[in-house]
Symmetry: C3
Subunit: 378 residues, 3 copies
């Protein structure tokens, strides 16, 4: 009997999508170790243009390690007491560190630092994007990583009544902050309706060629008072036209509407954003807007000559840094081809992007960029 | 017979207090990997006040990862040839790295970088403290981490003649130093009498509810000539009223007397410090003094209504930055509650602290702080 | 039968020269984790002198961790799809990260960041050097680590027709660069004749006491246009007399001739270098030259009283920072004793070095240095 049990027990060492897994004999401890390397070639430039000056930079041929990640997760003492941390080896930055208490599907609790679930685009791992990287509008609207606590869960009322929710209190000082500027915090909420009654995973593309369609409609909002007008992996920062402020200088309110849909190799995603910045010192208001639409398809589903693991995807993104100013508009048009050797875990992406910046007072600028990226997880 | 042996052999993978353990089949190699995450909420401030100005800072509500550690240890080639390193992921600092040659209990040898065993409070891991963190006086008196070599061991003459000793030669340039300022080194010694004939582990509290009392009396002293008047995780630094000096500018002599005692859930610890700083350029002498007394108890030992894993602990610490000046005194009074889910490896601590700073020429200042901390090792 | 197979299959955990090894049951994934710690004592200084001023520095006694490395390698999805990364914990630098496609011995492909195979001395790991560290000339001539792609392989025509080759296109911006200065790249090639028909491993000394002699003659060349005149672990830098330039300011052409030979405990290595720097702004040309000769022997091969694991080695290196100037010459004479407890994986080295700097206009300077180093891999 004991021998039978030992056969059913998971192996002490195995490999899964989360890397190598190690278990103790009692099932109290699980340790998962994974690495991910992302290599990128770009010309004439890797970064999206931010200002009109960025179009006149010297053209370069760039090859670099773009991401080198060490991921460690698992559970300790109880199967529902989970931990996870992720370290960026190239920049020596601790990205994620969090403890998750996941006893019931409808009520989970997490604290530490992680990517706030504000937008689907940002929350999807950089290793599971559909294009080489996120869209032009991510820079202005993402909350990126924050420190704090969150409640989240899935409310399944049967049939189409299937909702995911997130409610968080965060310090709103960005990744790696070791102090808060004042006693004002960031508050965030997101409600997601899984309108076909089943969840849609946070990953780009429909690699599983889902036989059952899945879709979401989500709304998310956040408010924060801090010295910052934007957030990135580097922590709190400033949008163009703003400087890093004093404690509590900027009150930022923002919301977004999001859709996503997967079916038989076709995938769709969109976000529509508004963001309002109030400078508490000068009392000046600024409104920002933007959206993207993105779709991908495995053409091998309809054309026999097309390789099965080759996906084609396209995106349009538009960003208006100031909704009160007429004719200021930044546009990204992108076309990408993904060849999935082992799904998102081992893939190559070729991407062509056309940027166009317009403004009433400046000459229209455009640029075409090519990027090739190889991403491997192990 | 071989099969019998293989049953007695430790498993290739197991989990202990030092994390996951991996072994080769010959028993020549052992690798231990553990992580530790410490989350802290503090208001109005996390850091102990250092100057009178620190009492007038803007009040904040702070939540942060306070420590994120990766610990790797084991032995290689021989069971007595041990290695250990510890990396702080949040700050990207290599904290410990050392090789230990531990063949005989009475004569061990270690080299590399580690926390000098000068005081019990500093040497106890931040994950095994009795309060949220170390006392007010630690900042001024700790030698923190240093690089060098040490001899140490336990001399057991039977009965109450039980002593531990440490003798070290160190560069005295602090954590992470890659050069020494001059040819003068740091010398350190510590003698500890285990006066009840048995050792007392370096950890806060008597979680084991020891049925046999243990106690120590220790004396430690150190001398160093360097540009620094204090040490911390950041390396060499300066006390208030001092600046980072020239090579060999400060000669610092210091000693301390220490006691600790554990019995049936009760624990006691104390340190009494003196430190003498000679500025070799100005020839000025400064004397510093301080002490702390600390006690904890599992009240569940006497009250049946009190939860067994809940410890209450209290501490008083007083620090005089200059013994020649009358009435300069900094006081910390702290009360803490520890709930040990899995001993020190998974615990939550709530702490209230009252700080009072007095000085002849300045207005008396005080502040009450609350901190909540969750600490998990895996 | 299945039981027989499981006996032949490698163990899920084992320990090799590459550290602990973990395997999945299907043989698709291999993970190797190793650490290396290197401790060094030096007096009066650790760094080689670079300028005449370095001879008048304050003498110090230095003990430090010199290297603390975490090495992670293995294969994923296919046995021939290999990955490797190496992180310097003391400096928090990602050193190597690369993917290797190694299906055929004669045609391999690698991309990422690694030590360019320009010189044998630099390519040999710091843990497998014959002396405490590389020679005086390494600083001026190494290409160090670069990012890019390389083709390499072994061409074995039978008998003495045995060649290794490397051809690379690199960004030429040094370790850790995240951008390239312009569209000009670094090109590198190396051809190595294994003139006794068998390979010679990239490691110092003949620890295996080879019964069959091995030898190489190699020629390597590189060209690069960048702001830099030298490279090191810190990335791109400048030689004395140069400043960090503008994008594309310096065109550097260089070549070297190399020999190495191992037989019955005797080992030999040499390099002869030329480097030509053209400043594209001032149009000034500078030519640099240098060489080293190095030999080692296990005297236990001829003297019975000499301990078997004790090797003695000697090196002469000379460097001329400017071949057009007469009488400028920097000389290093070094003598080292290696005691190999477990080959290069656990060894102690004692080294005496004599530096002499000469120049027409400056007083001749010399200095004798002693260094003791312990290096352990696990």
């Amino acid at each position: 009997q004991e021998f039978q049990d030992s056969l059913k027990r998971p192996l002490p060492i195995s490999h899964s999508a989360k890397g190598f897994e190690f278990r103790d004999t009692e099932g109290k401890f699980l340790l998962q170790i994974a690495g991910r390397l992302q290599f990128r070639f770009a010309s004439p430039d890797d970064q999206n243009p931010v200002t009109f000056d960025d179009f006149t930079n010297q053209n370069t041929k760039l090859f670099k390690i773009n991401r080198a990640r060490l991921k460690v997760g698992g559970h300790a003492y109880q199967p529902w007491l989970k931990y996870y941390f992720e370290y960026e080896l190239g920049q020596s930055n601790l990205l994620d560190f969090r403890i998750m208490v996941e006893k019931w599907p409808w009520l989970n609790f997490k604290f530490g630092q992680w990517k706030v679930e504000y937008t689907r685009e940002r929350f999807i791992s950089s290793g599971e994007q559909q294009m080489v990287d996120r869209s032009l509008i991510n820079r202005a609207f993402t909350l990126d990583r924050q420190q704090g606590i969150t409640l989240y869960g899935n409310l399944d009322g049967g049939g189409l009544a299937n909702f995911d929710y997130w409610v968080a209190v965060l310090t709103g000082a960005g990744r790696g902050a070791t102090s808060n500027d004042d006693s004002k915090l960031m508050y965030f909420g997101r409600l997601q309706w899984n309108f076909l009654g089943r969840p849609l995973p946070f990953e780009g593309g429909d690699l599983e060629l889902s036989q059952m369609a899945s879709g979401i409609v989500a709304v998310a909002a956040a408010t924060n008072t801090s010295p910052y007008t934007r957030f990135s992996q580097a922590g709190g920062g400033s949008l163009e036209g703003f400087e890093e402020g004093l404690p509590g200088q900027y009150t930022v309110n923002q919301y977004q509407l999001e859709t996503a849909f997967n079916y038989q190799g076709f995938s769709w995603a969109s976000e529509f954003h508004r963001k309002f910045i109030l400078d508490n010192i000068t009392k000046q208001n600024t409104s920002l807007g933007g959206y993207y639409l993105q779709a991908g398809y495995f053409l091998g589903q309809v054309f026999t000559f097309w390789p099965q693991p080759l996906e084609v995807a396209a995106r349009i993104a538009q960003y208006r840094p100031n909704l009160e100013m007429p004719n200021n508009l930044e546009t990204e048009l992108a076309l990408a081809f993904n060849y999935f050797f082992e799904g998102h875990k081992n893939k190559i992406t070729v991407e062509l992007t056309r940027f166009t910046f317009e403004d009433e007072t400046l000459m229209r600028r455009d640029e075409t960029r090519i990027r090739v990226q190889y991403d491997i997880s192990f």
